[in-house]
Amino acid sequence: MITLIIGAIAVTLALVSAILIVNEKDVLKAIVLAGVESVFFAIALAIFLAPDLLIAYIAIGLGLNSLLFIYALKRGERYEEE
């Protein structure tokens, strides 16, 4: 019961951060917000009892993806134009 409530809160905050990424003009902020969204999905994975996914998901989804995108963003412009 209490674990389902925490899972519902985590999924709601992930939804809010996904909506904010779509409306964001600064791409560096969008990458950091994608890290936050991965944090909330990691809570959901721990709540629904999948510990063997966590060790791969945290290392790849949180660490390597944001590092890779910030490395690529040095080659071009930072802000998105309308």
Binding site: T12, V27, F41, L45, L49, A50, Y57, N65, F69, G76
Partner: protein, 136 residues
């Protein structure tokens, strides 16, 4: 009569599906390439959580290992042991599928980021309209 557990369950599934819809809308309408790739990671993460949710049983108390760690007959376990295992433990098959999907997804994103870096070096911008020549 729907219990509170069932209502929370429906809410979680609907929220994840709505996340996927928002990210797909962003991929279709926003011009920056790196932002499109970030939104693509969100779609894949939401699909992983949805697949894990399919294998969950309400009332399960263990990750997919044997509770206690010891079987009395590992080759031919008895009927009672298997029934007890099935009532206490979530389904392990979707989790095994997703472990391979995460690793393949990393290789795919390295490939896409390399392509977009070469594209930015040859055209000077990450904007998709400037690459195609529609906007100066």
């Amino acid at each position: 009569m729907i219990s509170l557990d069932g209502l929370l369950w429906y809410y979680i599934v609907v929220a994840i599906l709505f996340t996927i819809t928002c990210a797909l809308y962003g991929i279709a309408t926003r011009p920056h390439i790196i932002k499109k790739l970030v939104l693509l990671t969100i779609v894949s993460d939401a699909v992983y959580v949805l697949l894990v949710l399919m294998g969950y049983r309400i009332g399960a108390t263990n990750p997919p290992v044997v509770p206690g760690g010891v079987l009395e007959n590992p080759v031919f376990p008895s009927h009672k042991t298997i029934v007890e295992f099935m009532h206490k433990v979530v389904d392990p098959v979707p989790q095994v599928l997703i472990v391979t999907a995460i690793v393949i997804g990393l290789a795919q994103f390295v490939f896409l980021v390399t392509i977009s870096m070469h594209l930015a070096k040859s055209t000077g911008s990450f904007d998709i309209r400037r690459i195609e020549g529609e906007k100066e």
